[in-house]
Symmetry: C2
Subunit: 301 residues, 2 copies
């Protein structure tokens, strides 16, 4: 395992790693299609025009191109009914050409996200949000691991960061990041075998837990939450936060801001992810990997 004995932290470059993985996937897809196999096909359902969702979905479609996948974008206005959306989900379930699909969250309030997620055929649930995939992941069975935890695990692997026996603090207990991340890090595998602590809004000793952590995975969605004095020297810090804060310095009018106060925390770290360019690109590439697994029917027949 790598150790970083330098004074400067190693910046975990999710952008470069994700480009590398997309090339690996594209090569595999080229081999499959050259062999007469089917081109993987990912569909995405997007409801409304939320800026963040538009950006994410556009990035996913672009990643499909880079990987040699076919992609389909299905759009609805905000007034779509739950039944219309459920019908579309059922149609995609039945469509043999589509290997996997996602419904971009959040959805308008009049639609039950949970109902939509549970209606997706778990064999096409490349986001890994369906209870069957969440359960199989907790148990340690093959499944679609949700994209952000899978992307973080891949970064830890590619940078050879040691996890066995280490104290790993996960900040946040969402169903999409915190809980599955905690489950991953405690499995009997690499990356994993860590002593995992999950902290959240109700935690009394959150700062103390952080100060003792070898690895911190911050997924609270609170910009600049993790300060320099909350991190021990030599820690690995993974920043999942992507809050859009208004900014007059960018063309878009906002600045993507992580949960980690980078300038204070980075000097103390062995390894740290930047925002943007850390976890974000890895999340999208994990979705691509799940789609490839779906096309190859590796997890489910």
């Amino acid at each position: 395992m790598k150790e970083n004995n330098q004074t400067a932290p190693v910046l975990i470059d999710g952008k470069t790693v994700s480009e590398q993985i997309k090339k690996e996937i594209a090569a595999e897809v080229a081999a499959i299609t050259a062999d007469g196999g089917k081109q993987p096909h990912l569909a995405a359902i997007l409801v409304g025009h939320d800026g963040g969702s538009e950006t994410y979905v556009a990035a996913k479609v672009k990643a499909c191109d880079a990987c040699g996948f076919k992609s389909s974008l299905i759009r609805y206005e905000n007034d779509v009914t739950e039944e219309e959306l459920l019908d579309k989900v059922r149609e995609l379930n039945a469509n043999a050409d589509i290997d996997g699909f996602i419904v971009q969250l959040p959805l308008p309030r009049h639609i039950s996200e949970q109902k939509i997620i549970e209606t997706i055929d778990h064999r096409k649930d490349v986001d890994g949000f369906h209870p069957i995939n969440a359960g199989r992941m907790a148990i340690g069975l093959p499944c679609y691991i949700s994209a952000t935890p899978a992307g973080i695990a891949e970064l830890l692997k590619r940078y050879n960061i040691e996890t066995a026996g280490k104290k790993c603090v996960v900040l946040g207990r969402s169903n999409i990041v915190g809980k599955p991340m905690a489950m991953l890090m405690m499995q009997k595998t690499y990356p994993g075998d860590a002593t995992v602590t999950v902290c959240h809004s109700r935690s009394k000793d959150l700062e103390k837990e952080c100060r003792e952590a070898d690895i911190i995975i911050a997924a609270l969605g609170q910009p600049n939450f993790l300060k320099g004095d909350m991190v021990k020297k030599g820690a690995t810090v993974i920043d999942v936060g992507t809050t859009r804060l208004p900014s007059d310095k960018t063309k878009s009018g906002f600045k993507l801001t992580g949960d980690v106060l980078f300038e204070e925390v980075a000097p103390k770290c062995s390894f740290i992810t930047p925002v943007p360019g850390g976890v974000g690109p890895m999340t999208i590439v994990s979705l691509m990997k799940n789609t490839l697994l779906a096309a190859k029917k590796t997890i489910y027949k």
Copy 2:
């Protein structure tokens, strides 16, 4: 919430609580059948003649009687094939009179426990081991919570033990106890909202984590593992261990031994469960509660 300012610890009496709950269930069943409803029916499959398994299944059948349930015990010898067992599982899935059923673990090595578990209809999986129930539990959706974690949660409730913001250390990461227990304790509910740490065989700082814990749930299966100097004053200690150690002082020739060195740990605790008579009886009663939920079709239609 209760505080125990006395010098002696409060002994959490799982036996008495479980008797109370069985009476509550029996009263509900009496009301259901008086109203012309169906008597709940639990079936159990037992393979072989392992002493522990025999005892557990006998206790479950007895608990069914106490609750006013119908019970069916289906026995196989150790040479039963996986296919025979799978056929029986499918038959029980299809049998409308049976509301829920369990397959007593462990099974002989030539049978895949995971395959058996996944073949059980999740709507009848009152042990809560099926991936759908594990996943729904992790997500926080209604489901059959596996019996031991559910029983512990019930004890914490009945003794009004505060959990929100507390540091809860779970020792062990099994699919049946450790992982689901950790998931339960981090949910946004009571009991829950705790800062949860999962320690296991690979953890380096297990003793330190324990010493800082407000609540320790010991489920390692290592007799007398938790010593007095590993527990802070005023802690709540829940002992899930049930190892059968040879003994010449008992008629059966063995002594049920927990993971906690009771005589050292108890004097430091606010609340502690004994072995036997703590978690054990609650596990069985949780199975009864799940069976009642199945009969009433509360979780799944």
